[in-house]
């Protein structure tokens, strides 16, 4: 019997995952974004290499090592910068102009409309001057002003117009461009929507489903239905060529409406992007009985319904997404709530936080995300640089329960506000998987497989074309 020599390789310097998938395995190397379908024997070789065990010296294995070397899985990784920048000079700002809202959504995290608070124009102006001047300082040519937060941005219309016009003026005076972004409920008057269509190239619309879902989950403050107004305004945006995406919050009662909602969109609208998000149990979501008997069962139901929606979306040409399904991402941080480029989000009272949802500086997570405030005496923003440094250092590698997860560079520790982590003095003292983790893994794996297959097919087709061309 022929005896093979053994090859000893270097240890991997990047994550290499083999994930059981039906009757085989998916090989996933997140850093270059590689996805491959492999059999058990191939998976065994990868596992040997991962454990730094020698493998048989065969032509196949030598080629495999060549591939892995080219993919740089043995290469030393660059050492990240040890210190954050000395000065904090963001060029994008997100303003929470008001806590007013036309709607009383049953799950609203901010309980918008319950208490009225508006941002003083002094704070709006200070934030806009700050980012406009920072843009000049960085020698960039554009800055972004977003609207999100404690209520509907357009609900205090004079304040909203003030922010827009002030940002335009500051940009014009400095020879800059300004881009506006917004998450909105879509309740606008005819005059308001005309103005919005002139200012915004893209708007994210919260719109939960067919009328029976939208009206039950997102009623007007009076209790009247909101569906007709939102639907008409979406059609108006389309007539003006304004790009928009739909974000639909899914409650247990809405699981069966996801596919019908896609059918409705396909028949009546031109939208080709729908983001489904399972409801979060915060704010009014705690006050109301949302019909969730078991969180785990709800997420399993969402997972099943989501896969059906992805399939139907594929048939209709509508891209369906969920925030935890992030096959195309490779990042240490889920969003700007943590990491080296924190969001500059200003609340109605002038609190600066990296997270739109966590603005209470006394809460456990707020002690981490709230890193500054507007100082009326000094008429400027002041920042806690120690907290900025904590945010700067925080990445998925700080989260113990993510350590062995194949999706950790895709999901990047998940939404900070939703993740089940406990913090003390800016450090994680405990963490565990949240009910979203399983949904994140399953949806990400399915998406990775689809994308791997598509890219495989495209590459083979290119090779065929190249041969034909010769």
């Amino acid at each position: 019997m022929a005896q093979h020599h053994l090859i000893h390789s270097q240890p991997f310097t990047t994550d290499v995952f083999t994930i059981p998938y039906k009757d085989g395995y998916i090989l996933h190397i997140p850093e270059p974004g590689l996805v491959a379908g492999v059999d058990a024997h191939f998976c065994g070789i990868i596992e040997d290499l991962k454990q730094n065990r020698p493998i048989e010296d065969t032509a196949n294995n030598r080629e495999l090592l060549t591939v892995l070397e080219t993919l740089q899985v043995f290469a030393p990784k660059p050492v990240p910068a040890a210190e954050p920048p000395a000065e904090y000079r963001p060029t994008d700002v997100t303003l929470s102009l008001t806590s007013r809202c036309h709607l009383r959504c049953v799950y609203c995290y901010a309980r918008a409309g319950d208490k009225i608070q508006d941002m003083p124009t002094e704070i709006i102006d200070a934030a806009l001057y700050f980012v406009a001047d920072n843009t000049v300082w960085h020698e960039r040519n554009s800055f972004i002003v977003g609207f999100h937060g404690e209520g509907e941005p357009t609900a205090n219309w004079p304040l909203f117009r003030h922010a827009i016009e002030q940002a335009k003026r500051l940009a014009r005076e400095r020879g800059l461009e300004v881009t506006f972004t917004m998450s909105s409920n879509g309740i606008w008057s005819p005059a308001q929507r005309e103005y919005l269509a002139d200012c915004f190239a893209n708007i994210s619309l919260s719109f939960d489903g067919p009328s029976e879902i939208q009206d039950a989950q997102r009623p007007m403050a009076s209790g009247a239905p909101s569906f007709p107004t939102v639907f008409e305004n979406l059609q108006f945006l389309e007539s003006k060529g304004v790009d928009y995406g739909i974000r639909a919050t899914v409650l247990p009662t809405g699981l069966d409406s996801m596919v019908p909602f896609l059918n409705l969109i396909s028949e009546e609208l031109e939208c080709n992007y729908v983001h489904f998000e399972p409801v979060f149990f915060t704010g009014r979501g705690i006050d109301h009985d949302l019909g969730v008997a078991s969180t785990d069962a709800f997420y399993q139901g969402f997972l099943d319904a989501y896969q059906k929606a992805v399939t139907r979306g594929g048939e209709l040409g509508i891209s369906v997404t969920y925030s935890g399904c992030r096959a195309t991402h490779f990042s240490t941080n889920f969003c700007g709530s943590t990491g080296p480029d924190p969001n500059f989000f200003v609340s109605t009272s002038g609190i600066v936080s990296s997270c739109f949802e966590i603005i209470d500086p006394t809460s456990a997570k707020g002690q981490f995300t709230v890193y500054g405030r507007y100082d009326p005496g000094a008429r400027r923003f002041v920042f806690d640089h120690e907290k900025l440094e904590q945010l700067w250092r925080f990445g998925v590698d700080s989260i113990a329960h993510c350590k062995d997860c194949f999706a950790r560079w895709n999901c990047s520790g998940d939404c900070f506000a939703r993740s089940d982590i406990s913090l003390e003095n800016g450090a994680i003292v405990a963490s565990q998987e949240s009910p979203r983790c399983q949904a994140n893994r399953e949806t990400t794996l399915q998406e990775l497989v689809r994308r791997g297959l598509v890219m495989d097919a495209l590459s083979r087709s290119d090779q065929v074309s190249a041969i034909t061309d010769e």
Binding site: L34, V35, A36
Partner: protein, 110 residues
């Protein structure tokens, strides 16, 4: 956000696909390679490079491939739509699915 890429992309994927035990291999990021056409739409360097290297002047390229990554062609989305509508039943049928995708690719849908 950090974006990443496959070094020597297509060549290395072709070798990987030839290996015993590999059913398919591709890259998850929405990178599209159109033969003879620059995928890097920032055009700051006018190098007309293909996507695998982002552009010939990398690392001097201003967009570092981000522009191309953010703007996959319509037919890539159409193909992903086809993929979404096909069942991912077991690992062996994935190969059949890939063949269906290749068929779909030969009939440009948009």
């Amino acid at each position: 956000m950090t974006e990443s890429k496959l070094p020597e992309g297509q060549q290395i994927l072709a070798i990987l696909r030839r290996l015993e035990g590999v059913q398919f291999a591709g890259q998850a990021f929405p990178i599209v390679q159109t033969p003879g056409v620059s995928s890097c739409t920032c055009q700051n360097c006018s190098c007309n490079a293909r996507i695998d290297d982002f552009c010939g002047c990398h690392p001097n390229c201003v967009c570092q491939g981000k522009t191309a990554l953010d703007r996959p062609e319509d037919w890539m989305n159409a193909l992903l739509g086809v993929a979404a509508a096909l069942p991912l039943e077991d690992i062996r049928t994935l190969v059949g699915m890939r063949d269906k995708l290749q068929e779909a690719l030969e009939k440009p849908s948009k």
